[in-house]
Symmetry: C2
Subunit: 228 residues, 2 copies
């Protein structure tokens, strides 16, 4: 068994002391800081305190290492999103959900992962943000595998809430929303630092609430008496 990045290995060795997990955690930060071409397996393994050859032993290649990181982070986050949406729908008596509730279901699992300055999740959001600017081939395989279903479910939920919004308008506005989210993902640490100590200072949870309100208003642009 040479390559071990198969499905059976998801979440089976999250003990932070294993070689495999040490690599995953350091790689996350290195990718967020430098991107795929900018990160070096030598620097990574050196900092993680593991041997250079361990990456190829455990993951097969640099690229497969990155795929593994994304899968192991994205799958539970999207599961959480769908579960929040499902619960909200279960409590709505079959009525369309308020736009705010839909966006909260999408944003809260993301915000939760950006809260607190410790923990391995802290670099994941910058990673996702960075990945959208990288080589389309690299990202699009991951997108097709892990994101498409979730995005489509949310798209349908919004459509039920705002049926007067054409399919194309909805797609465009969803696109803008993704951009605004990613801007926050990539820059949230830097942004919070800039606001630190200033009178209107706010934490990451407040920022995500601001984002939710901003996006909901954007979705309702040009429409009257709609969206709740």
């Amino acid at each position: 068994m040479y390559k071990t990045n198969d499905l059976n290995h998801r979440f089976v060795d999250m003990d932070a002391s294993t070689t495999r997990t040490r690599i995953l955690h350091v790689a996350e930060r290195h990718y967020a800081d430098r991107g795929f071409d900018g990160m070096s397996m030598r620097a990574l393994t050196s900092e993680a305190g593991v041997n250079l050859a361990a990456v190829n032993y455990h993951f097969g290649s640099k690229k497969e290492l990155l795929y593994s990181i994304f899968r192991e982070r994205i799958v539970p986050m999207n599961a959480e999103r769908l579960e929040l949406l499902r619960k909200a729908a279960a409590n709505s008596d079959g009525k369309p959900l308020a736009l705010e509730v839909i966006f909260d279901a999408f944003l809260i699992p993301m915000a939760r992962r950006a809260t607190g300055s410790e923990g391995p999740d802290i670099h994941f959001l910058r990673m996702v943000g960075r990945s959208l600017a990288e080589e389309p081939d690299f990202w699009q395989r991951l997108y097709a595998e892990e994101f498409k279903g979730t995005v489509e479910t949310f798209r349908q939920a919004i459509h039920r809430t705002m049926p007067e919004l054409s399919e194309e308008e909805l797609a465009v506005r969803f696109h803008f929303s993704i951009g605004a989210m990613l801007g926050l993902l990539v820059k949230h640490q830097q942004f919070l630092k800039e606001m630190e100590g200033r009178p209107g200072n706010r934490d990451i949870a407040a920022l995500f609430q601001n984002l939710r309100d901003f996006l909901c208003a954007g979705f309702r642009a040009g429409l009257t008496n709609s969206g709740d």
Copy 2:
């Protein structure tokens, strides 16, 4: 005279046949496609039909080449933005500008550069989008040099239009807007291709108008009777 990337060389040799300009134009696309670490001076010079050593002769280094590209594109774009804002203010009898007018002044110079599938500007927008995810050191020097004044002028214009929005709220919403813009910058070609031939198909100018309306609505979130 070894390094030639000084101010005197801005816009003096835009003749597409010179070695210096051929390098600039190809580098733009390569950076947009692969990022700083992913692009190679060998591949670039080979495709541009110039010698490998020409990059260091004309620009000094790979990094200085990138700085030159940004400066030579960003400076006229931001000048155009400020000019549009200035003209609008001159026609407003001293009254605050409508939010839509302010955003148009910011977005139209960008949209104009994304219109048409030919021309050297076509890759610039993807470049700007990509740069925000790159090494902060690299980007922040450029941001401080070339963007800060423009952003501050627009921030003040928005403040005059929406004085009830706190400084911090304005900063946060401006931040979200930048993210949404960049999302469109990075993905606009791919996005237009996806919508091609579908009933609600639209061109890049329409997309930027959609973006303007989306952002204006987002800025007005939670406020009543405001923003014009």
